[in-house]
């Protein structure tokens, strides 16, 4: 079996601005899926709401475009109901680190075997330019005309603290590295988190391609098994490192759910359930 990029392409035209990082994230994801030859019928891309969350419409796999902030719970339901599926959750920085923060935290600690890509452009795009949980302090926007007062969320440090078993950062315009990170994340058994820095050409005038050029740097020579080193790298505020920070093999939540021994819950025969085992407790 081979999967071409054409096999993964739908009739829908992306609604993103020219120069938006979402275009390259989409291309890198399709390239990764084609390289790994995962049958598209067994892939589900789950998103929330935001510019980037329209991505399920542009990849010819199964897709679920849920509510703002709630992509991860849907992804969990799908994965737990049918663990044979490849489940990829994609969400923006506001969606993930703001409204969906609780789900983000708990998905990491349960080490669900899914890939989670966060389109992190440090601004709200679809609602027209408000500051986001990752906007830097002082960021001026329609909802913070005098500058944002909060310290931004540090997604990588948070992920490391909450027990994510795969923690990486990519940059939307470094497409070759991004595809490699996606391939690696898809191969990882457990919760694989890839925070993808990206420009928003319309609303983020602070974090421009030039800013990223000057303030990021591809990771080299680090040891992804070393959590302390990963944490140190995650806390860097100058020359933001790009690449794999941390990776460990540990049991996944779905791997420890014992009921799969009797088959996939979503597809098993339920036509004639015998209640006698249950009801014997009530006589």
């Amino acid at each position: 079996m081979t999967i071409s990029l054409a096999d993964l392409t739908t009739q829908e035209t992306p609604t993103w601005c020219p120069g938006c990082g979402d275009h390259t994230i989409l291309a890198s994801l399709k390239n990764a899926l084609a390289e790994l030859v995962i049958d598209p019928k067994d892939v589900v891309i789950v998103s929330g709401i935001g510019c980037g969350s329209k991505i399920p419409h542009y990849v010819k796999t199964y897709g679920f475009e849920g509510l703002h902030g709630r992509g991860l719970p849907v992804a969990m339901g799908i994965k737990l109901a049918n663990p044979t599926l490849t489940v990829i959750a994609i969400s923006g920085d506001g969606d993930t680190y703001g409204i969906g923060g609780n789900h983000f935290m708990h998905t990491m600690r349960r080490n669900l075997d899914i890939v989670h890509i966060v389109q992190d452009n440090q601004v709200y795009g679809l609602t027209k330019g408000q500051y986001s949980p990752t906007s830097k302090k002082g960021f001026k926007s329609p909802s913070s005309p005098h500058g944002a007062l909060e310290t931004p969320v540090n997604p990588l440090a948070l992920a490391l603290t909450m027990g994510a078993s795969y923690v990486a950062r990519g940059y939307a315009l470094n497409v070759s590295q991004l595809k490699e990170l996606f391939v690696d994340a898809l191969n990882h058994k457990g919760y694989a988190f890839v925070d993808v820095l990206q420009p928003c050409v319309n609303y983020n005038r602070a974090n421009t391609p030039q800013w990223y050029q000057e303030n990021t740097q591809v990771l080299q020579g680090n040891d992804p098994a070393n959590w302390d080193e990963a944490m140190k790298l995650a806390r860097r505020t100058d020359k933001l490192p790009l690449g794999l920070f941390f990776k460990e093999d540990r049991p996944t939540y779905d791997g420890e759910v014992s009921v799969y021994e009797k088959g996939v819950p979503a597809t098993r025969d339920i036509s004639n359930i015998d209640l006698s085992m249950m009801l014997k407790h009530y006589v």
Binding site: P56, N102, A266
Partner: protein, 595 residues
Amino acid sequence: MIPRANAVATIPTTSPAHGSITGGKRINNLSWKIAGAAGDGILNAGRMFAKLCMRDGLYVFASAEYPSLIRGGHNHLDIRVSDKPLASHTKWVDLLVALNQEAVDKHASKIIPGGGIIYDGDTLKVSVESLKRSDIALFPLPLLKTASACGGPIMRNVVAMGATIGLLGVALSSFIAILTETFEKKGDAVVQKNIKAAQAGYDLVKGKPFPVSLKKQPGPQRLFMSGNEAMTAGAIKAGLTFFAAYPMTPASSILHTVAANEKDYNIVVKHTEDEITAINAAIGASYAGARSMTATSGGGFALMVEGLGLAAQTETPLVVANVMRPGPGSGMATHSGQGDLQYVLHASTDEFPRVVVAPGDAAENYTLGFEAFNLADQYQLPVILLSDKYLAESYCSVDPLPHQLSVHRGKMVTTAQQNYKRYALTKDAVSPRARPGIPGCMFVASSYEHDEEGNECEEPAVRVAMHQKRFRKIEQLAKTLPQPKLIGPADAPITFVSWGSPKGPILEAMKLLKSDGVATNFLQLMYLSPFPTETVSRILKKAKQLVLVESNMTSQLGSLIREQCLITIKEKILRYDGRPFDPEDIVAAIKEMIV
């Protein structure tokens, strides 16, 4: 409008439900109450007693009242036992076990003349003078001292149970059997201590007369189940494969019951970080092909509302149980009410069709708990099971559950399709439903408005077609639902109209009224959305005197009937103090109405 919430029955000198027991002897008809503090082991002791009565072929009904705390406060458990079917608790007590002074003070006035009270004579001061009653028998027993001598003061409840069954003439051996089963897991030493305590309690009342006794009778093997357990059994029978919930009283025992059965029935059970996760995960699982459910109470349901709309917009089958308690806010966690009817009927942004169904007893919890999954799958929409604490947490002897129930999954696509359209506009408005893993059917389930293929679309014509499609499904469904029927004589001068858990107290009140020469009938509404407008209108128009019975202040079913049928029910019996209706209070309200 005459709200009759305040009509309260006075203690009868002879109760038609029980008959007088002064100087007499009554067999197989008992109202028993045990009361004390949380942590006294009241619920466990009482349930053991009820179960042993059920095994002896008798009908039982057990309901508990307790505050939202773990130690202290005031708890009581009411158990009725009879050789005839029972639908609810009763207000009056034949035999009270009082484990503290508060139990005496609160409940002694409810003891029927000729009845009795078991209490600890060493620690409680109870007398004819203090009770201002000379018509009840006092059984001052050294409960604490006896329990301590048998191995620990904690077994006070077991000593009291031993005394109870002694007074009622029940064989100690049946109690020992239940004690053994209950404490087996804790080891033989614990079992033996408890048996010793039961025996000691039994011996304390040896030779003491009591006018009520219980005798074995033949009968089918019934089940001692709570409403929540019966609903869970229905869901499991329906092939529940995914259950996600966040604990919230009084819905939590659904989560516990599913979890206890997860391995035997291959069900993924997830206690999630919040109710938002629970409903979204349940929707994800259903999208993947599982039969999926979540359960909560009003506050948790509030967090689920956006998810409810997601299920509706993506046409993903979903079963949600809302087990009501009084609100608003945290309200009264461990009490009962029916204040969420209009809320669950309308909860959402914009408008979409849903099924709302309210079972009235444990058996209906089972059958509707099963049927909810068929309706969700066949019509691809959310189905809300609306229950309440009184129904959810009351235990009763349930007749053998029907097991010949058919699973209908609707238009599930199981093989590759040509030109597949997930939201195809079909004649019956239900579209073929594929799940991930089926080749050639890849589609996006989107929370945005979409076209037939599932692509986001904001074109007016498409929006109208899709909005109408969602509503057309429920028009089809309305034609297939069972229609409500009158219970009782068709020509009765009084017709009760109600829904949900008041069913039990109403049925008991009807029996009491009948023996007083007042004929009544009862229209129980189960399916509240879609509303059976024609049938209800027809029945209500024929009725002579309508009386609405609901556990809320604004008569929400009354509003719904007025909206749907243009009929106003003026006479109302409403209760909203967090407690279930007492059958006797319904009787008193009717009598007040007809004088």
